[in-house]
């Protein structure tokens, strides 16, 4: 309840204005594009697809290898904190940083996906390993080495979970990889943005259809024996020739990201401190705080809207409420809704409605409502109703909703942090969340400001993560999340 109240208060102050001149005309053109996809309009479409796949595969592989190693060290506080930090920074922000370090070299794309994913995977794998059945250990000869015990007792049961989770991560990786095109990498997003800005909606829909096909067919082409071939192929097609210089990296790390006042010629200590103080004041009060306020405002509205949409979405795939054919349609809708990266969704809506909070909220609510709706719908498959249970809307309200409500809340709180991270990112599209200030700082080549704001964003995400975990613990909400 408190969350709904907070969201309502946030909504009062929100800016929902539709500023484009002819939103309906634009929408008609977009819809026309959707039904007339043009697969030959994009130059080097095959290349864009291949790069999207290559960055996703290599990035997720990188994240998997390092995430697994880190999950074994997860008992260490330093590793846990480090992982929390790297996953609190969104892939796009990592990409913006690595673009400064490595330019358009493939390393930028691989590390931008791989580093935050390693942080997420480490946490999830550590939890999976912890949940492995410990009873075989009691029957094991006590002098068995730790390594052998791990290989035979912990790893086998966890392995199946690792592979399903990796598949889910690869799906996320494909979305991330596509979105990286928006900051300049040669993936689908790059062509999507240019097609959009020219109003070539037939091309846009062709690109999106291809993207859905890749994700929908993932279970067909992603096979264990083929994985080495894919990885080698992915490494082979990327343009490794693009070079970067160590000088450049060194300058960025030791000079560019140091707060400006500290960089200047050594003045008196007092004067430097005064300037630093001024710099901090500007950053905090003109950028970080307003940005954070908008980010939080948007996050709260989007969170509650995601919840409302979940209530609407999960019956679409629930066998207790709908027949087979209606459910197939529901599944298709939810797949499309949740496979569209929220960044692209927001971008599309922004083109239609102009810059305001509305596109961001609708995009976030649709995407997250789609994901949670899918998971809650799957939960309902496990419910058996008594034979004489009521039907229709009564069944929904009295029999089903009360049974899945707690899981739904748990999932929503779990997504809270994800929504927050996404909200910050949507700033790059022009909504004045933290991402907006970060993107402007990168555009002005003020890397000290950008890094400072990224740190603020990361701290905000970590804080939300902690609060959400405490709420879940207090309400005793069970999350068995994202391991579909």
């Amino acid at each position: 309840m408190a969350f709904i109240a907070v969201a309502l208060i946030c909504a009062i102050f929100a800016d929902f204005e539709i500023t484009t001149v002819h939103p309906w005309q634009e929408l008609t053109r977009l819809l026309h594009g959707v039904v007339t996809p043009d697969f030959y309009a994009t130059d080097n479409l095959g290349g864009a697809l291949a790069y999207t796949l290559a960055f996703a595969l290599l990035g997720v592989a990188f994240g998997n290898v390092f995430g697994f190693i880190l999950s074994l060290l997860f008992f260490s506080r330093i590793v846990r904190t480090g992982c929390a930090f790297v996953r609190a920074v969104h892939e796009l922000f990592w990409a913006l940083i690595f673009l400064q370090l490595f330019g358009l070299s493939p390393l930028t794309g691989i590390l931008a996906i791989g580093i935050p994913y390693a942080g997420i995977i480490a946490k999830v794998y550590a939890e999976i390993l912890e949940e492995a059945d410990p009873s075989p250990l009691q029957a094991m000869p006590p002098s068995t080495g730790r390594m052998s015990a791990f290989l035979f007792v912990r790893l086998p049961d966890a392995w199946a979970h690792f592979t399903t989770y990796s598949m889910y991560r690869l799906e996320c990786g494909l979305r991330s990889s596509a979105v990286l095109g928006f900051v300049g990498l040669p993936t689908l997003g790059f062509h999507l943005e240019s097609a959009f800005s020219q109003g070539l909606y037939s091309e846009v829909s062709a690109l999106l259809i291809l993207f859905y096909l890749i994700i929908a067919s993932m279970r067909v082409w992603m096979r264990r024996f083929a994985l080495p071939v894919y990885l080698i192929g992915a490494a082979a097609i990327l343009p490794w020739g693009l070079s970067f210089t160590a000088d450049n990296i060194w300058r960025f790390l030791t000079h560019d990201i140091v707060p400006y006042p500290l960089r200047a010629a050594p003045a008196e200590t007092g004067e430097t401190l005064a300037r630093l103080n001024e710099w901090l004041q500007t950053m905090l009060f003109e950028q970080a705080l307003p940005g954070a306020a908008i980010t939080i405002q948007l996050t709260m509205i989007a969170l509650v809207c995601s919840g409302l949409l979940t209530l609407l979405f999960f019956p679409l795939i629930s066998p207790l409420l709908l027949g087979r054919s209606a459910r197939t349609l529901g599944h298709t809708c939810l797949v499309i809704i949740r496979s569209t990266p929220e960044y692209i969704l927001a971008y599309v809506l922004l083109q239609l409605w102009g810059p305001s909070m509305l596109p961001a909220i609708v995009a976030l609510a649709l995407h997250n409502g789609g994901i949670i709706g899918h998971l809650v719908g799957r939960y309902t498959e496990a419910i058996t109703l008594r034979v004489d249970a009521c039907r229709g809307i009564r069944r929904y309200a009295y029999e089903i909703l009360p049974r899945v409500y707690r899981q739904m809340l748990a999932l929503l709180f779990y997504r809270w942090e994800v929504i927050m991270r996404e909200t910050a990112i949507l700033g790059i599209l022009g909504i004045s969340t933290l991402g907006f200030y970060i993107d402007s700082a990168f555009a002005d080549l003020r890397f000290d400001r950008a890094v400072f704001l990224i740190l603020v964003t990361a701290l905000l995400n970590i804080a939300v993560d902690i609060i959400s975990r405490q709420i879940r613990a207090r309400l005793r909400l069970q999350t068995r999340m994202e391991r579909q």
Binding site: L137, P141, F152
Partner: protein, 218 residues
């Protein structure tokens, strides 16, 4: 020289005392059955005994303690995990070594599992899983076996055969059992538990199942 020696010891589970004043000596080559109503502390007593002799004993827990996603071969092989190098173990995990496969096959011979050797344990029935756990205990090189209801999931005919195999291969057997007739046939010494204490510790010779009634009824 006794294999196990407990003198007036208490044991508990999660803070609550389950067994008190346990005094017990077990010599080499004894075959002991632990009997008593369910929840009386047979498993706790087995754990106390196991703690004393874990270097030379194998344990068959009541819930089997098998790794569900590994095959019967791997689960049985785990009985000798501590006697091989990590590399050998890793090799066996990825691709079973022929020599170890035949050694495991010898052991599970009497357990009627030979056709399931490379089936994941999770796909087996309760009785087959239990026999896998027994196989693991047999594969262990120690000469003591401790079993918590090791034949509860198989029919009586098979139970007798399995108990024979255990008796042949292990010098000392201490098994918790609920089937009184089976216990009397198998064991040469019987330990009865009631109200958290050992109330009976006698040779089985001449005993009949009804002599044990007082352990179960108040």
């Amino acid at each position: 020289m006794p294999v196990i020696e407990l003198t007036n010891e208490d044991a508990g589970y999660r803070g609550a005392t389950v067994l008190s004043g346990v005094t017990l000596r077990v010599a080499d080559q004894e075959r002991i059955a632990l009997v008593g109503a369910s929840g009386v502390g047979k498993s706790t007593l087995l754990r106390m005994i196991y703690a004393q002799c874990q270097d030379r004993a194998s344990l068959i827990p009541q819930e089997f303690g098998l790794v569900q996603s590994l095959t019967v071969f791997h689960n049985v092989y785990m009985g000798q995990l501590h006697e091989h190098s990590v590399w050998r173990n890793l090799h066996n995990l990825l691709r079973p070594v022929a020599r170890d496969v035949s050694a495991v096959r010898d052991v599970v011979d009497g357990l009627r599992l030979d056709d399931k050797l490379f089936t994941a344990v999770g796909e087996l029935s309760g009785g087959q899983q239990q026999r896998t756990a027994i196989g693991r205990a047999l594969f262990h090189t120690g000469d003591i076996v401790l079993g918590d209801e090791p034949v509860s999931n198989v029919d009586e005919h098979q139970a007798r055969r399995i108990l024979d195999v255990l008796g042949e291969r292990k010098k000392t057997c201490i098994l918790a059992m609920h089937d009184r007739a089976l216990a009397l046939d198998f064991a040469d010494r019987l330990i009865g538990l009631k109200d958290g204490r050992i109330v009976l510790d006698e040779p089985t010779a001449g005993m009949t199942p009804s002599d044990l009634d007082h352990l179960y009824f108040t």
